[in-house]
């Protein structure tokens, strides 16, 4: 009872069904934790009244014995998901006051399964960032600190509010989205688990679009099992998103047998990058040993085009973003800044409404799509994408999944990398290939570094084989044996 916020989703689900506590008690414990943690700046909007209303309904259902899959589980929602009647900002000034008249398919699936919403979570503006520092609503602070230091660290990004709120025990789980690493990198640097499913597994309908051929929603939670539970509900075929696949969603939880005997785990040699910190290299080695000890077979593989993934991404993603973000014009929703005519109204609105990183990416995207440059940049990048996807196809002839680090380092200090966009982009060096190839990837909490900061390992799977990632991910999670929980320094 005393530590309802410390439960996993699996434990909370079982406790609710056994009537060890009510959905109302579980919800109130989280609302209280959120109120005490405003220093983390994880929420853009808190919705305690919605959570309590949902809990009341859940308690009725639990009493009647008609509980749904996520009955009474309080969650946080990245502010990129449209939520009916609730402010949705995408972390941007340009969506000021926007209350969607509809619900995203992923959140609709969660509510239909009995989950409730504690609020909307802060994020990098339009999901463009790896540190949460591009949010119009100010950076989220990582609940973790270096040993003996008060320096505020970033929670990663772009799903930084999601990662911080899960790590700080403010929510049992959260939704994230991942275009180049935005679920996995923040999960790694806050000591939680997060999966980017295969492209098409979750509907993108009602999620504010960044780069449509790369964006994918996924769960972030404190354990691999909790991610499996959430994804089962989040994933669906949706007629509203023609790229969502019409194939059955397996019961991921029952697929988590704990048995990885004979599983072939590929180690891509190109991920051993120059200047990789020794602690990351050591953690990767540990992951290899853990899986080997559990009976998996380790195979060396090559993904020769890995080094071209980031530059290809920084053509494809801005190009798609510049098209997607054309809709923000001050006419139909959000901010409007007047001008002397309609064109200057557009220009003034977009100048005031978009932050610097978003403007930079729109300009890059507009440039690479402009007359004369389309073939040299965009088509070239899409060709590299073909080669990167082909690398994975070749590797999967020799193995069933891949093991890599999630991020090239632990959480860094706020302001440390904001001056140099390219050094910021390098945070995604191990994750971005997965988006370009449309594959699933999971980050699993795997240890703490010498300064006491969490690090993650990534497993990359074959298309639509999330089940194997959950199975192997749990083996790593258990072998790492860490119950990562930051000191609650933020509590007032």
């Amino acid at each position: 009872m005393s530590d309802l916020t410390g439960l996993t989703i699996a434990e909370a689900r079982d406790g609710l069904r056994k009537k060890a506590f009510s959905a109302r008690e579980l919800t109130d414990a989280h609302i209280k934790a959120i109120e005490k943690a405003r220093a983390l700046n994880a929420f853009v909007t808190e919705t305690p009244e919605l959570a309590r209303a949902g809990a009341a309904e859940s308690d009725k259902r639990l009493a009647a014995g008609s509980a749904r899959a996520l009955e009474g589980i309080p969650l946080g929602i990245k502010d990129l998901f449209c939520t009916k009647g609730v402010l949705t900002t995408a972390g941007s000034h340009i969506l000021d006051g926007f209350k969607p008249p509809y619900e995203s398919t992923v959140t609709r699936n969660l509510w239909d399964a009995g989950a409730t919403m504690l609020g909307k979570l802060n994020m990098d503006e339009f999901a463009m960032g790896s540190s949460n520092e591009t949010s119009y609503y100010k950076p989220v602070i990582n609940p973790w600190r270096r040993k003996g230091s008060n320096t505020p660290l970033v929670p990663g990004g772009s799903s930084g509010g999601s990662a911080a709120s899960v790590a700080a025990r403010l929510v049992l789980g959260a939704t994230g989205t991942d275009t180049g690493g935005s679920i996995r990198q923040p999960a790694a640097v806050t000591g939680i688990a997060g999966i980017k499913p295969t492209y098409g597994r979750c509907s993108r309908w009602g999620i504010v679009a960044f780069a449509s051929s790369l964006d994918q929603a996924g769960p972030m939670a404190r354990t691999v099992r909790d991610c499996a539970i959430m994804l089962k509900t989040m994933a669906s075929h949706d007629p509203m998103d023609s790229t969502s696949v019409d194939m059955p969603v397996p019961d991921y939880e029952t697929a988590m047998t704990g048995n990885v005997k004979g599983l072939r785990v590929g180690i891509p040699k190109e991920y051993r990058i120059d200047g990789m910190p020794a602690e990351i290299e050591a953690l990767w080695q540990k992951g290899i040993e853990w899986l080997k000890a559990a009976g998996a077979e380790i195979v060396d593989v090559s993904l020769p085009h890995t080094k071209y993934a980031l530059p290809a991404y920084y053509i494809v993603a801005p190009a798609e973003a510049s098209s997607n973000l054309a809709r923000y014009d001050g006419v139909r929703f959000g901010l409007r800044v007047p001008g002397k005519d309609i064109t200057s109204m557009y220009e003034n609105t977009r100048a005031a409404g978009f932050g610097r990183e978003v403007q930079r990416r729109i300009l890059i995207g507009t440039y690479v799509l402009s007359a004369g440059y389309y073939d040299a940049y965009y088509i070239k990048a899409q060709k590299l994408r073909t080669l990167i996807a082909r690398d994975f196809d070749e590797a999967y002839k020799k193995c069933d999944l891949l093991l890599t680090p999630t991020a090239p380092g632990p959480a860094f200090g706020i302001g440390e990398k904001t001056d140099d966009p390219i050094s910021m982009y390098l945070n995604d060096v191990f994750t971005v290939t997965v988006n370009l190839a449309g594959l699933p990837g999971i980050s699993v909490p795997a240890g703490l570094n010498s300064e006491g900061l969490p690090l993650g390992l990534q497993l990359i799977g074959k298309a639509f084989d999330e089940a194997t990632l959950f199975r192997a991910g749990e083996v790593i999670e258990k072998a790492a044996g860490m119950t990562p929980r930051p000191q609650a320094w933020w509590e007032v």
Binding site: K99, I364, Y367
Partner: protein
């Protein structure tokens, strides 16, 4: 391919973002650094490679060609910064 101030001005115009004169030069520098970095893609011979057009192997579904939604004028216009009677209002376009 190097970007100068005038190119930034032209691209900003295409992107409909008002750009103050003093930010054109710094932005040209930023864009050039990024473009120089992505130049490395030219190391790879892609003359026989098809560009990716579909992320996962799937065929698009057809749906029945019928009206599935509509009559939502109130919901559609509700978030407009300016408008009335289910119309969006914008500065005068035609004299």
């Amino acid at each position: 391919m190097s970007v100068d101030k005038n190119t930034v001005r032209r691209v900003a115009k295409l992107a409909r973002i008002a750009f103050p004169e003093e930010r054109l030069e710094p932005m040209a520098g930023e864009l050039n650094r990024l473009l120089a970095w992505v130049e490395q893609l030219n190391e790879v011979d892609t003359s026989t490679v098809e560009p990716m057009t579909s992320v996962v192997k799937m065929s698009l579904k057809m749906r029945d060609d019928v009206v599935s939604d509509g009559g939502q004028a109130e919901a559609v216009t509700k978030n407009a910064p300016l408008g009335e009677d289910h119309y969006f209002a914008v500065p005068k376009v035609v004299e």
